[in-house]
Subunit: 297 residues, 3 copies
């Protein structure tokens, strides 16, 4: 089946073929459109860039789209996650894109759902299309992925972006480090002090401090956080001249990145959003082609 | 006008022609598409399967769709139900699908609204497309409707599914019984104890216990309810071997139906959802054809 | 750039060419469709008629549409207005329609956002497409705009409709008066007692009392308001025989207009809503043509 749950299920050569297809779309490439196909976007958590960029990608491919709204659905009558997804599966549409707060929610769906699924983010687990757009952005910048150094900075422990990227970036031959507050670190993920690794990196990837997931940390001090682990005048000066700044968004301005630097010349933050469209078009094309390389290429 | 408010307004021959059209769509039949037409879905109550299956049906017919969201509309400025519908009517689109909590809300709209309307459920009154999909599912299973026995079980008094089905199933020649807790019964609807009628029936149609409509019944005991009026090992064993289980959804798992039996071999619950697409395509085609049999067939 | 922020930026000849295009659509005119184009509707305030009529207009032009839902977006993670709009801009779609409670919100976007924008209403400031549909409705009724007299009645100070209409109606040669409670008046806007000006006017334009913007006025008495400043048997009798009643909606029935008169023969309230579709189609066509008259005509 052509699901995309977790990039760990994909060989690096398959990932590279998806990136090639995304670059083809980025270059204005056209493709037979899927004008008879219907996509359903089921976001059980709030989202702006992932949710709507999937919808734009579907529309650019000619698909019809359905946007599930949890607030006016039968979830209000206590219908379960599984039964909601199974209902959409029973409609017989062509694609489900799902985001849910539960890690690996898709394990309960596999084998039971026949409609192809793309994971739009599961809890603190995976966010495969985010990683693909990160890779595309880096490849466009440097012409390669191999041998580049990247540091992922912030709340590593709770970040699906960090988990997915750490694995796939290592597999494509990048040197991957993580940094940030020690209390949010993961010792298995090449943790290193920020000031030590920053001058070595080609890519500085900031993560969002997810207040909504652990707002109990009353002692959190944004100014101090930015000084220690954020992008500011001092850290910008320490970066390699060709290094780029990335962030999956939404940015907490003045926390991870000082306001003035969000759109600075090193920033690729809005370029990432633009690449999200092309990567999602490629992911959808992959899934609708049944995940078979031959028909995909 | 080609409205569908209440199946009581339709002869059995007209209903059978809608079912034939639905079966045509189910068999992969194609139809001139309505690609210039716009449908507006106005659900003033939460809904998953009805709301989104109307939207999928519209998209499969090539229509454009508008989904009204009560939460971000002028209802927040106290605009009335009538003025909201009249606003959409004034847009000059081609179809309104409406669900509202008020019984027979459409009586205040008839004559005043010129856009064709399909009723997506009114209070405890009618739910015509649900009945049509129930009939289609039964007909597919048994090759006929006449002479089959069905028991509708649960909160009969508050169920629009029960009211609509009781009438139309009798009219197409089925033997229709109702059962469940005596306090939710309707003496005009052939009420009979569950254990007595269960072994006689071809179709066992469970209704959802609508907690959100009468949550004041603190004494409600789900385990006891299931033992007395629900699908469980004992009741499954009492059913005819060829009998099927239906439910309009969402199922309260372990209340109306024990968890393990929701997807058992006798269950047609997700088949019903799938048939909902084809029945709604047929209903829309009927309404857009002005309700005239000649142009419909 | 082809933005529409404020009608003050437009010459009367340009406004008249947009009205001509709207009339062309109203008369059933067709146009090359924008079937590869995607529109994003970003309404940060509740709306029924503006939001959905933009969507209908886009669909009638063949565009794909995206409806941003603030309630399930990253606004829940404190993403700012600017970053939300910049995210949609980065998607690379073809049109943004924006409503926001902040006056002149678009001043912070100009130069930073490359996607064309149509203002769907900013705070108490502007509502350009509402004014265009008002002008179209008046022109259809009287065959001209010049020399007609209009009184705008109600909460002048807080009304974007009043501000935008006062300017443009004067510029196209109408005699424009404002009236209503003195505490909501604006002395720069030709304020005059209602009973004095009413018999002179061709157009009586009622404004909505915006309870949600200043509900602190506990002393507000709807019956008294209607008697003094509203449409009722007495004021209808004082109107010119050919005069028409307009209202941007939603109407507070029995406040600005007695219930029975909302759909009376002088009322063009639902005609205005219908014209909103054609005016928005014309505005979109203008913007997508880059705002250049030559390609527009």
């Amino acid at each position: 089946m052509g699901n995309i749950f977790d990039l760990k299920d994909f060989s690096t050569s398959k990932i590279k073929s998806i990136l090639d297809m995304a670059q083809f779309f980025c270059d204005g490439g056209i493709t037979p459109t899927f004008s008879k196909k219907v996509a359903c976007n089921l976001f059980f958590e709030p989202s702006t860039r992932t949710q709507y960029s999937f919808q734009v990608a579907q529309e650019k491919l000619g698909m019809k789209t359905i946007t599930f709204s949890p607030f006016s659905s039968s979830l209000k009558k206590n219908e379960s996650f599984y039964d909601t997804v199974k209902t959409f599966d029973s409609f017989g549409t062509d694609l489900l894109v799902i985001r849910h707060s539960k890690n690996e929610y898709y394990k309960a769906l596999d084998e039971k759902i026949s409609t192809p699924i793309i994971n739009g983010g599961d809890g603190t687990g995976n966010h495969p299309t985010q990683s693909l757009l990160d890779l595309l952005t880096i490849q466009q910048e440097f012409g390669q992925l191999e041998d580049l150094s990247v540091v992922i900075v912030g709340d590593i422990a709770h970040s699906r972006v960090a988990h997915t990227n750490f694995d796939i970036m290592n597999r494509v031959g990048m040197h991957v480090y993580t940094s940030g507050p020690i209390e949010y670190s993961d010792s298995s993920m090449n943790f290193i002090p920020f000031s030590q690794i920053l001058p070595e990196c080609d890519v500085v990837m900031m993560l969002r401090m997810q207040y909504e997931r652990h707002f109990q940390h009353h002692e959190f001090n944004p100014v101090e956080y930015n000084q220690k682990y954020g992008i500011n005048h001092k850290s910008i000066a320490q970066m390699k001249s060709a290094a780029i700044i990335m962030h999956p968004g939404p940015v907490n301005r003045s926390v991870e990145i000082l306001d003035d630097f969000v759109e600075c010349k090193q920033s690729r933050i809005f370029k990432q959003i633009n690449n999200g469209i092309f990567v999602r078009m490629a992911a959808i094309k992959y899934v609708l082609s049944g995940g078979i390389d031959d028909s995909f290429n």
